[in-house]
């Protein structure tokens, strides 16, 4: 148990979409990570504190309901302030309101400081592969 890499998972803001979260939790766990799943309706602050408490290597933020643009701003800064500036942060789901060209959306969230931005309906395997690769790069 101990030596498993830890990742924090949660659905941010006032968002209650739980199905994807449960599947990601199951799949990422099954892939050998220790998932700290905060579930739905998670404030930014909780992602940061959970990451610090558990010494996690990555934060996986989900936003399905359309307010992602508002809810996700400033998470990177919070991490910086809390001293985990370099933690991996992924974000995915239906990030903005409306059917939008993903290119724009991706850019917007990369600029906010997210390491990877996922298009709607991304399958868990993709995330897991990326996680393993990114952590390896960091020698973990």
């Amino acid at each position: 148990m101990e030596n498993k890499t830890k990742v924090v998972l949660g659905v941010i803001g006032a968002d209650c979409h739980a199905v994807g979260n449960k599947i990601l939790n199951y799949a990422i766990g099954a892939a050998g990570f220790e998932v700290i799943n905060l579930g739905v309706l998670v404030p930014q602050a909780d992602f940061v504190s959970a990451a610090i408490e558990t010494d996690a290597q990555a934060i996986l933020v989900a936003s399905l309901y359309g307010h992602g643009e508002i809810d996700c701003r400033g998470l990177r800064e919070r991490c910086r302030e809390a001293g985990i500036e370099n933690i991996l942060i992924y974000v995915g789901g239906n990030l903005v309101v409306g059917k939008t060209d993903f290119g724009e959306v991706e850019k917007k969230f990369l600029d906010m400081g997210y390491d990877r931005v996922y298009a709607p309906g991304t399958l868990p395997d993709v995330v897991i592969k990326n996680l393993q690769a990114d952590l390896e790069k960091r020698g973990l």
Binding site: A14, A18, V19, Y65, H67, G98, G121
Partner: protein, 483 residues
Amino acid sequence: MELKNKKWTREQFDTIRAEVLTHWATGKDVDMEEAVKFHETIPAKRHFAKRLIKAKKNGETLTQPRAGVALINEHIELLNFLRNEGEADLLPTTIDSYTRQNQYKEAQNGIEESMKAGRSLLNGFPAVNHGVEGVRRVVESVDAPLQVRHGTPDARLLTEITLAAGYTSYEGGGISYNIPYAKSVSLERTIYDWQYCDRLVGIYAEQGVEINREPFGPLTGTLVPPSVSHSVAVIEGLLAAEQGVKNLTLGYGQCGNLIQDVAAIKALEQLAEEYFAKHGYNDCTLTSVFHQWMGGFPQDEAKAFGVISWGAAAAVLSQATKVIVKTPHEALGIPTKEANAQGLRTTKQMINMLKDQPYPMTKEVLDEVEIIKAESRCILDKVFELGQGDYAVGAVRAFEAGVLDVPFAPSKYSLNKILPARDNNGAVRLFDVGNLPFTPELVAFHKDKIDQRAKVEGRSPSFQMVIDDIYAISKGNLVGRPR
């Protein structure tokens, strides 16, 4: 606060009301007397409850979209577009998610950001922030029956404001707007707060103002077995009736197997009649609503049109009073008004082509009706027993015990022990019945159905099967067969 399924006294209501109306500045403008006068001026064609009664009488299936944006004028424009270009029979006002969580400051911020951005950054219409006057403008600018649709655990202020503004229908319930929408709000709390909403509707009714109420049928929208959502629907219906609600629409979300879907609507209507009669609520008009597939959609619009059409077919073949319509943008984002109107027109075409062809009540359908009713009775009667004759108390205890259990629910007050999966014909069954108080026969029925499928697929039932089913429709199938 002591929860009881008992009509509130006016004192109890008024004390709490005084406090509720202070939750946000706009609360103080609520004036029930003025509201009653306004409601009396609403013509029948714009009156939700009356329109539903007429539809039920004529055997119509009415169409209704979901729609809501941040700003008043844009919202009015949106609704009129759906009325004119979408041929919608009934119109909604979908509330944004901040308001749903009573985060009125965030909603205010969303309004301002939307003004700046020139597009809606909110996923719905923040009615509380717009206040009675603003919402009244919507009511006066739209020529169709209007309903508030949301997902709000504590909807008391929202109810006060939208009903005072002149809405004639209101969605939600203490269970259906908690378990799928909240994480750590107790059921006691939400059922109690929704008694307030129902009581308010009852008080309007006592003054001759008929307002339609609709518990949210589909719950998590994802592989919810009919008997589970039916039990919740009937309980919320009974709780509403006790508070004086006289016009109720009970709902169900499409599972995808036509026989099961047709049977589900029949069973829902019969169960409601049965339990309302049993408990002496005989002056309450009941209608039904069928929700087109509420789970994950295909991203491709052409495929989405297929899913929408199949939902429309099931709705009209089951003779539901109304159908809630999805759009070709479903998998990707809040639809443009054009995409929303497209879903409505596809649905209208299907309804008009199928309305003259009643679905034969075959043995398969009748057997399915009996199964759903038998399962629902097991649950409902156990809830009644746990509550020692009180459905409100019983519901709380039932969720603790897993007697009521909603798959994939975010709320920690749902045990999440049951696991649904499709059988070999695509009907939603239970791969794990959890603590549902089913008879051994019913448990065996589900086991057989799942085993039958597993056998065909040459694999043993597993959580992977559940996951495959969750993705199936979005990947272009009904049953999530192994690749």
